[in-house]
Symmetry: C2
Subunit: 301 residues, 2 copies
């Protein structure tokens, strides 16, 4: 089964309780691809400038991420700089340099167009739609979005929702998009807009999976060594997609539940490292151990 | 097994999206007692004024709550008035009339002093200590507290912590008391202050149970018909205590996990009614059905 991930490839400058981490590799497509690549080969579509480090290219390729779809162009790579509060409970953006990302028009290589599992990471919904017009018959399309697009491109976002299978979205943004505070009512309103399955991401409180009347609640692993939450949501999406791809189609609720736990397991590793530090070196064994920790955390007799 | 609950008995005036509910029966000891009484007989120690409705007395007695310890004195019953935001995510206190509760000095009837399970609901820690000095050898002491006592009576609170088995506390207040943002580190700091077991209550995100290195995560049931969150934490404590009392001692982690789920089940009923409306009429069958709903919500194969 092939997986295709479309989204941002970035360099992040992160200030947190552990210091300043300048120009480390980041971006939703990178976190998602590295996470998904634990389960199988991944194709990435994104754009970077000529400053993007060759070591990062080699690292991604060594992790089974196909970079034929990574456009390298004149200019600088997308750069985000932010500062986390000491307890990591909030962050502020210091600057966003879109650079070459401002002109990103995803071009899906011919070889990628028959992909089975497609992750549309958080980008302009018009570009997400454009990707959908370039692929043939994916078995499953997962998309993420954010408040910026809800506020500025609602019509395009609604058109997108009609064409995807799974929406992953933060709790606050789910409320905003559904115009509904209650999280269950909000999730059901979102499934009414198109996606059969909705996953509400709640950060340190875990995630909720909705499909029809069924609900599954996944916890977050309570950790003492959280270093950097950057990319945790994208890493979650990669684990979710990767598990489903490794299992075959997997649209039944039991398989989706396990996929959410795998996503949560990957995300729990992500926050234990700075940037992609931890995600880039995970094995299937690491994941299995962590999935078992999730099982112990919630099971009762 | 006998259960003793000490705490506030009140009349609440609640303004919410459903209207104004004037002078309805409330108070931590009432929510906890009604919840615990689903499992067995409960003894209540509290204080009310002569205005306390005789129907409320009859209702409590019919629910197996022993009121020998309820002092009825000249003056008015403790009255709290508050307004919830339309989405129930926040509330403001409009007025607090302590009335006879200002002079509450818990007197434990002789007949209650050999109680097995003791719940010290959220009152002045000096009074909680005073209760401990009046009982003989309870098998388990559970206590709750709040930011007001952390800020005004920290020494007494710390003396209390050394003498209790289980602390139930809201997430924000756990952070405040432990002076530690990370919830795991905070919980471990709190167990270091005395109680072997700590339960962090997270409202609509559920609860975390800590004992030694073991952690259990209980979800909250995602509900579409939340009417009134008042008393949910106290109702949780009643279900927790009631289940343990019905099971015998129950200090092992597996039993504590089930007790947390029972507490969560009771709390999920509580929020579906205004005040005690739903809690006062629950059966063991209702609880069993809801515990199974919790199991379905978190289990994965």
């Amino acid at each position: 089964m092939t997986m295709l991930v479309v989204g941002s490839v970035a360099q992040d400058t992160i200030h947190n309780h552990l210091g300043t981490h300048p120009y480390i590799i980041g971006g939703a497509a990178v976190f998602t691809s590295l996470s998904a690549s634990t389960y199988g080969p991944v194709q990435l579509v994104g754009i970077v400038g000529r400053d993007f480090p060759p070591e990062a290219i080699s690292m991604l390729e060594a992790r089974n991420v196909d970079l034929e779809g990574l456009e390298i162009t004149d200019g600088k790579t997308f750069h985000w700089e932010g500062r986390y509060s000491d307890d990591l409970s909030s962050r502020e953006t210091i600057r966003t340099d879109l650079n070459v990302f401002a002109d990103f028009r995803p071009k899906i290589p011919e070889r990628y167009r028959d992909t089975d599992y497609l992750m549309l990471a958080n980008i302009d919904p018009d570009l997400q739609l454009d990707v959908l017009n370039q692929v043939r018959e994916p078995k499953m399309v997962v998309a993420d979005t954010m408040n910026f697009w809800i506020e500025s491109k609602l019509d395009s976002l609604k058109a997108l929702l009609e064409r995807i299978d799974v929406l992953t979205i933060n709790e606050e943004e789910a409320r905003q998009l559904a115009e509904e505070h209650n999280v269950v009512t909000a999730a059901r309103a979102l499934t009414g807009m198109g996606p059969k399955t909705v996953i509400i991401k709640r950060g340190e409180y875990g995630a909720l999976l909705f499909q029809g009347d069924a609900i599954f609640s996944a916890p977050a692993l309570p950790l003492t060594d959280v270093r950097d939450p950057t990319g945790a949501g994208d890493t979650f999406a990669g684990g979710f997609l990767g598990y489903l791809a490794s299992e075959g189609f997997g649209d039944d609720f039991e398989t989706l539940k396990r996929a959410v736990i795998h996503g949560s397991a990957l995300a729990s590793f992500c926050v234990q490292g700075i940037g992609i530090e931890r995600v880039k070196s995970l094995s299937r064994e690491d994941i299995t151990g962590r999935v078992n920790a999730f099982r112990r955390l919630v099971s009762f007799s």
